[in-house]
């Protein structure tokens, strides 16, 4: 039983990162019906910016660990949001009236562009975050070892999801986003500035992705310019499992994917872990083609 619970906590920790990245995919898809393939690379950019800012500002030494990291996180989210806005302006807005395939190709191109830009700026080597920033405390409950950082990551992801959900459901801008998601033309007729709404979507989603990149860097230590590919793919899968376009769905999808991976590698085989995860994706899509929470995609966002 200990073994089972240990694997569950492992799975939730991995899954909560997938979940935050998945939120970005799901938001963009919900509003634009576009899979933003460059989202994984915005995640990478977040990880690298975090490291650069950490080294350049030495903020954690100046104002103390927790507050410093909070400020760092806000800076990273802001800068990645800027990158997201630029991405939307350059790669997607000119193609908004074009067939959907053009935007998909543009997204793939943007992904390759970002990946190469990171490679050229930072080099191809692994970069490593300092080891002593985060507390490495491990608590043991009934034989299950849980690093405190994992609980914090899970808590941060839940907070981010809740904040995003509140933002979409309860604020005026959120209402405008939902209206745009349902029908862009009708939203325009109602006096909604669709361009601005889309720009906001492309700030929020990438900001969350950037924060996830920062968390991965801080927690696992090692970052590389190709890391966005694996996380992007997994988060995209998570968004589909949960029902793409649905915010709680992305969160639940991420956690389920993390759990399936952990339990699959625990009870079946480690080498088959990814095959099992994608097998579950296919099964879910067979029985619920819109994903677990994906009914009435647009309205639910």
């Amino acid at each position: 039983m200990e073994f089972f619970f240990q694997q569950v906590t492992n799975g939730l920790a991995v899954g909560s990162i997938y979940a935050i990245v998945a939120l970005g995919y799901t938001m963009v898809y919900g509003v634009l019906r576009l899979i933003n393939f460059a989202h994984g690379d915005l995640f990478t950019i977040g990880a690298y910016l975090g490291l650069t800012l950490l080294a350049a500002t030495t903020i954690t030494d100046k104002v103390g660990g927790v507050l410093g990291l909070l400020i760092l996180c806000i800076m990273v989210m802001g800068l990645v949001a800027l990158a997201g806005t630029l991405l939307e302006r350059m790669a997607y807005r000119p193609l908004r009236e074009s067939p959907r395939l053009s935007a998909v190709v543009s997204a793939l191109g943007a992904s390759i562009f970002f990946q190469n830009a990171v490679m050229l700026i930072y080099g191809t080597q692994f970069r490593v975050y300092p080891h002593d920033i985060l507390p490495r405390t491990v608590i043991s409950i009934a034989g299950v070892d849980i690093p405190v950082m994992r609980l914090i990551i899970l808590a941060i992801s839940l907070c981010m999801m809740a904040a995003l959900y509140f933002f979409i459901q309860k604020t005026k801008i959120g209402t405008a986003i939902r209206a745009t998601a349902i029908d862009q033309g009708a939203a325009k007729l109602m006096g909604i500035n669709v361009d601005r709404v889309i720009a906001i979507v492309f700030m929020t989603g990438p900001a969350l992705g950037g924060a996830a990149g920062l968390m991965v860097g801080l927690y696992y230590g090692q970052i590389s310019f190709t890391m966005g590919w694996v996380y992007g793919l997994k988060a995209f899968t998570a968004a589909i499992i949960g029902g793409i376009g649905n915010i709680p769905g992305a969160m639940i999808g991420g956690l389920i994917l993390g759990l399936v991976e952990a339990l699959g590698s625990a009870y079946i085989s480690i080498a088959w872990k990814d095959a099992i995860a994608f097998g579950v994706l296919i099964l879910i899509l067979v029985f619920r083609p819109t994903g677990l929470m994906g009914e009435r995609v647009a309205e639910k966002l």
Binding site: F3, Q6, Q7, N10, G11, A13, V14, M119, G123, T124, Q125, F126, V128, H131, R136, V138, S140, D145, P147, V216, Y220, G221, Q222, S224, T226, M227, V230, E261, A262, S265, A266, S269, I270, A271, K273, D274
Partner: protein, 373 residues
């Protein structure tokens, strides 16, 4: 006017072409200059550039200067086959490289068909020299030799239950399979045998599974980026079991990723780096390298690339020829005990390096690699 310009222009290029063909010998270097193993490829380039400069300053070989042509294979078999095709058209006599067995394997036939000598530097999988390719050599030792040394280290330490973890690359998988067979014969039980996915960040699910079978030690046969993460996460999970690595973990980046406290006590099997060797060649090379780059050579595979360079230049010098067939014949039969940086270099009939070079290393509390006696 225009015509004269064109004529002059083409004459210039023709002459340039003739000139370069006449007084240089081109040697190709194919390595992972980008990608996850980039530090290995950059190291190869650094080492060979020092040796080529030295040689050229001393007048080159057989009256000709050496020209090094570098091509990036990104540590990826598909890119590598393109790099090999590109190098084949550039008039190189021999190609040094590359790191990674599956990447080397993707290029072997291309070079063989083009009649170019290839000297593998970090490709240890057994089958590479079992194909009967007359122009393929390697300065890297073979996997089966490494399996023997690793198995010996494991049995000598008195471990009874071993967890073996690989990463499904052809190098790591063969090493894992062979070591398993040898240590099982010696009466050690293999309680866990599986593969992780390279390139991921979180290996806690695997470590939890290993913890549940309670082994005396973990033998990880894959590469250093994952080994670093494994060590770091192992410490976080309070899993106190020694880890033994393959020679692919012999890279200082491992310590950067894991952090010294997590890496302490980690041991691995590897050919020795030159700063641990007492031979004059090793000392001389370490001094030269440190002078130029401000640090000792980090990776043994970069050094083995230097030895490959030494071997091919020796063959050109001795035969006074750049005919690959002649050079290969010389290297197979007459090149004996050439003083290399990593030790004496001789090749057997298959193109494998003769003699054992493996040592056991251990990481100390400061995160330094210490060669064990």
């Amino acid at each position: 006017m225009k015509k004269t310009a064109i004529a002059l222009f083409s004459a210039f290029f023709l002459m340039a072409g003739v000139a370069s063909a006449a007084d240089t010998v081109k040697i190709g270097v194919m390595g992972p200059m980008t990608g996850q193993w980039a530090s290995e490829g950059q190291g190869m380039k650094d080492v060979i550039s020092i040796m080529a400069d030295d040689l050229n300053a001393a007048g080159g070989v057989a009256g000709k200067k050496i020209e090094v042509v570098v091509e990036d294979d990104a540590g990826d078999p598909r890119t590598a086959s393109l790099a090999a095709q590109k190098l084949s058209t550039k008039g190189v006599v021999a190609v040094i490289g590359t790191y990674g067995s599956s990447i080397t394997e993707a290029t072997q036939n291309i070079y063989d068909e083009a009649g170019i000598i290839q000297i593998g530097t970090g490709s240890t999988a057994n089958n590479l020299t079992e194909k009967g390719l007359k122009l393929f050599f390697r300065t890297a030792p073979r996997n089966d030799e490494q399996s023997n040394v690793a198995a010996k280290a494991i049995t000598a330490a008195g471990y009874k239950n071993i967890a073996i973890l690989h990463d499904n690359t052809s190098f790591a998988k063969t090493l894992a399979d062979e070591s398993k067979a040898i240590i099982e014969k010696a009466g050690v039980k293999v309680v866990f045998f599986d593969a992780l996915t390279p390139g991921e960040r979180d290996y806690s699910a695997i470590l939890t599974k290993i913890k549940s079978v309670n082994p005396d030690a973990i033998f990880y046969t894959g590469y250093y980026p994952e080994a670093g993460l494994l060590l770091r996460q192992k410490m976080e999970m309070n899993l106190k079991v020694p880890v033994i690595g393959s020679d692919a973990t012999n890279n200082p980046d491992l310590i950067k990723i894991a952090g010294a406290p997590a890496a302490e006590g980690f041991s691995f099997v590897s050919a020795p780096v030159p700063q641990d060797l007492a031979t004059p060649e090793a000392k001389d090379f370490t001094a030269k390298f440190s002078k130029k780059y401000g640090k000792a050579p980090a990776s043994i595979y970069a050094v083995l690339a230097g030895d490959a360079f030494k071997a091919i230049c020796e063959a050109i010098k001795a035969t006074n020829s750049t005919d690959p067939k002649k050079l290969a014949d010389f290297m197979h039969t007459q090149l004996k005990n050439l003083k290399g940086i990593s030790g004496d270099i001789s090749f057997d009939a298959k193109g494998d390096r003769v003699g054992s070079v493996y040592k056991v290393y251990k990481v100390d509390a400061k995160g330094a690699f210490v060669m064990q006696p």
